[in-house]
Each structure stands twice: as C-alpha cells, then as structure tokens.
Symmetry: C2
Subunit: 337 residues, 2 copies
Amino acid sequence: MGVVIPLEEVAHERRAEALLTLVAADMERVNQTILAHAGSHVEMIPEIANHLIASGGKRLRPMLTLATAGLCGYGGDGHVKLAAAVEFMHTATLLHDDVVDESDMRRGKLAARMLWGNEATVLVGDYLLGQAFKMMVEVGSLPCLDVLSSAAVVIAEGEVMQLAAAKDTQTSEDDYLAVIRAKTAALFAAACEVGPTLAHRPKAEIAACRGYGVNLGIAFQLIDDALDYGGASAKLGKNVGDDFREGKITLPVVLSFRRGSEHERAFWRRTLEQGEIANGDLETAIATMHKHRGLEDTIERARHYGAMARDALELFPASAWKAALIDVVDFCIERVH
Amino acid sequence: MGVVIPLEEVAHERRAEALLTLVAADMERVNQTILAHAGSHVEMIPEIANHLIASGGKRLRPMLTLATAGLCGYGGDGHVKLAAAVEFMHTATLLHDDVVDESDMRRGKLAARMLWGNEATVLVGDYLLGQAFKMMVEVGSLPCLDVLSSAAVVIAEGEVMQLAAAKDTQTSEDDYLAVIRAKTAALFAAACEVGPTLAHRPKAEIAACRGYGVNLGIAFQLIDDALDYGGASAKLGKNVGDDFREGKITLPVVLSFRRGSEHERAFWRRTLEQGEIANGDLETAIATMHKHRGLEDTIERARHYGAMARDALELFPASAWKAALIDVVDFCIERVH
C-alpha cells in the first residue's frame, strides 16, 4: 500500500531518524519481548493486548530507555526488558484511560472497550501491569524496580487528580502542570532514569537523564493538548476536539479562560463544565483560543520545557546518543506544525 | 453499640482465635502500614481506599503471611510490609472486580463505584497496586517480588477467564477450578510463600507453605460460592443470590446443571445465560441445588482441598503456629454452617 507523505512530515520524521537508527537493533528485541509477554493461554488477553500493541504507537518511551542506556555506555542486556516493561505500563494506562474517559477511539481504531467491553479492558490492563512488574523482577535491579514502581503510584495519582479537576474551569496553570507532571512526565522520567541506573552511573548523571525525561514529558503533553485543538495552524486533523467533547481542562483552555471576557468564560462553562456542546462550538473554542494566543502560548510553554530537557543533557560529552536525544525534543515539539 | 452474636458464631470465631492471638502484635503494624500507604495528597485516593479498607475485611491473607513467616521462624521485619502489600493487591482486585461485576454492594456497604464512579474506582485500584509493588521493593527481596508479581499476572488471567466463562452453563468443573485456582488461590499461595522465602527456608518448606495456601484458597472460594446460595442450611443470609443475579457459573451450578433434567437445564439457561430472572427463581435455584446435592457436594469438595492444605503442613514439627494454621482451615470451611 503506497502512502503519500507530505514534504513537511518527511522533514519532521527526519528529526527522529538518528534515534530510530541508533536503537533499531535493540528495538527489534524490545518488540519481540513485548509480543512474547502479551501472550497468555487465556484467549482474550493476547487479542485485546495485540489490538493496542499492534496498532503502532510510536514506542517513544521504550526508545528513550534504550537511548539513555546507550548515552550512559550501558553494556548489558537488562535495558531491553525494562524498555518493554515501560511500554506495558504505558499500554495498561491507555487501556484504563479509555475506560475512564469512555473513549470510542484510540490510535484511529475502535478502543478496546468498544470491542471487548469495559470489564475485559480493565482486566487486561491489570494483566499487562503484572507482566511489566514480572519483567522488571527478571532484570533483578532493585533500584530500577524502585524507580518504576514509584512511577506507577505517581501515574495513578495523576490520573485521579485529572479526574478530580475534570470539567473544572477554575483549574490553574499550576494545577494543570501538577496533573501532567504526574500522569505523563513521571513515566517519561522513569523511562530515562532506569538506563543510567542499570549502568551504575553517578547520581548526577541519573538525575540529568531523569530531568531530561520529566521535561520532555511535560513538553510532549503540552503539544498533545495543543494538537487536540489543531495546533498552531487552524488546520483540523483527525482527533481534533476530543478533549473539548470530554470536558478536559488543558492548558489552552486554562489560558483562554483566564484571558477571556465574562461572555467567553460563560461559553467555556457551558461547553466544558455543563457539557452542552452545539454545532459550531468547537470552531468557536478554537477561534477564542487563537484570539488569546492560548494555543501559541501553550506551544511556547512546551518550548520552555524542551529547552530544560536539552540543558539537562549538557552534562554529557558529545556523542551520537546525545545528539539523537536532543533531536527528539525538537521532534516532539515540531509535531505541532 | 452492642451486637448480639449467636452462640454458634462464637464457637466458629474461636477456631480462628489462636491465629488472631499469635499475629495480634504484627497485625497492628500491618494495619498501620496499610493506613500509612493508603494516604495520598490527592484527596479522592484515601477517601476511596479507606472506604474499603475501613469496612473491615477479615484480613485473612496478610494474617497468613505473618503466620507462615512465624511457622518458619522468620526473625526479621519484612513480613509486615509484604503482608500489607498482599492486602493491597487484594483490595485493588476487589475495586476492579466491582467495576467488572457492576456490583452495587461490597462488604455490606455501597460499593466504591456507586459512590465515586467507575473511573475513580479503576484508578484507585491502580494506585493501590502501585503502592503494593513499592512496598515489596522496599523489603528488597527479589524472590518475594517474583512470587508476588507472578501472582498478579495469574490473578488477572483468572479474572479474564471468569469473564469469558460468565453465563456459560457448559462450564465444566475443571474449567471452574482453573478459574478459582487463578483468581483466588494464587494470592493465598503467594501470601503463604513469601514468609518462608524471606526466611531463606529450604525449597520443600516453601513448597509446603505454597501448597497449604493454594489448597486453602480453593476451599475458601468453594465455601464462598456455596454461601452465596445459603450454604448447607436453607437459611437465607445477606448477599445470598448475588452470583445468581450476576449469572456467575460456580460449582453449585456446574454440579446441579450436569446432574439435572433437561427441564432444569432450561431453567439454568434462562436465568444464568439469558439473565431472565423472575420472582421465586432464586428459591427454585436453591431447591434444585439441594435436590442434586449441589451445595452439599461443593462443601465436600472444599473439605477435600482443606485436607490437602492440612497435609501440606505435616512436614513441619508441632508448634503453636502450625496448630493455628490448621485451625484456619476448619475456620474457613465451617463458615458454611
């Protein structure tokens, strides 16, 4: 099947090419590990797990585990299983998120819960989380287990915080940051921390990798949130408006609400708090955001965290790994154009 | 508040008294650990967690961890955190079960999902599972982490198997046993295995404790399933009929369906498969079960696994711990009278 890729997308993909090339051999092993551990004699489990696993997420998080291990000169084998465990934790979160958000679609396919029901989706999420821990235990590094189990706790806290803040237009930028720091950035941070931890690198290097991960994770989520309203361009791609329809309070909303008139605030309250959405409201929301630079400044904030991610790595001498990891920051931010 | 306890219940409680006395001091520390780790700065988490934790389950599983550690002469501290982790795994399963079963009640109180919604219930389950792993990591025993993370995988498999078999009157006794071995007995087994593992006991002793746990767990679940239809007496207590209304295929049903006439099988298909339940159907179900000794033989099967549990411990010399653990088998089975 031939797919026509617009020129600007090619340039964008190229930014991540260095990373893709460097991790290619290890990612092959990660993918095999993922497939091997998504299997079970209980039929429904591989069915549901593979529905999501095979639908081709970017696998950014396991790549970060491999790349930060490479950056720190790790010579062992454990990073492959830890990378697979990180992806399983992410997949389990997506499955439970779909149930929590009552989502119909995920990655352009019907969400698992639409095909197998909420019940099986919750349970297969639990299964993948169990398998993730089992893989970590097989690697046998207690410090890595500490990093990843702590992340699991923080991610769940972040999801609950997000639920509590849902539909609340009073949410402040700091509240919002606390949510995405927990629900998204904590796993990016853990994914980047386990490589240097496995390699027994000094504390400062471990902290640098963690700092890279947490700030990259925040930038990544901010861009995701901007993309959900079409990003900087007014171009409406697929999935645009999902957050709006679910009443999610993301930074573009927080900024536009605070900067808006009483009339505009009434609009946000009606659509996001009361969920009364009429035809044309999404377009009004996007226009109001552009009027107040809500999307542009969300992207600006992402650039700020991107800069922090890049600087966190400055501790390390120049290397192909370092260059590739720095390119990933641009890759994550330039998705928006 | 004075509560009148019937005499036969007093006699029944006495059976578990030896265990309760032996573990009292350690259980106090387990309870403190549970409360300390159910807390979070995210408000909804302690609210939901404590709703279930404070509603006073028997805490049988953590007591088994403490008692098998005692049986094996463990002199350290790790068993307390592992016992708390076992209880958290159990609590997380209950929260997710309520969402899966769409239960309205749990332990005589409104189920968490009725008060906080399915979303928060799923996420707080995830949080408790994360905290369970964090506690295990703090204890620092990789073999114990292996036992408990493997159990987490098997429990989730068991829950999915149960879901797949739901409402299927073709379920065989072996199918049913495979489900409860995974969803219930795996955690009993793990709870009993970590004590001797922590104490670095020989393989045979670890296997003996595991064997005790797995067989006790099966017996426990069989009795639970019999109790859901009023047990051996025809007395209808609270919660009787929950499994019937949910279309759960448990051993009393499996036996009564196989032993029944075509007319009776049509009854089970209508009520359990099609969920068409009319007034008086529960009473008919119970009467049909008694006619075919479906409840009596479920209890007989439980006695068989109880005997296996007792014999598994015969490897150990006489001790107060051993006597208390053997009493627990009777305690679990005699709940039914």
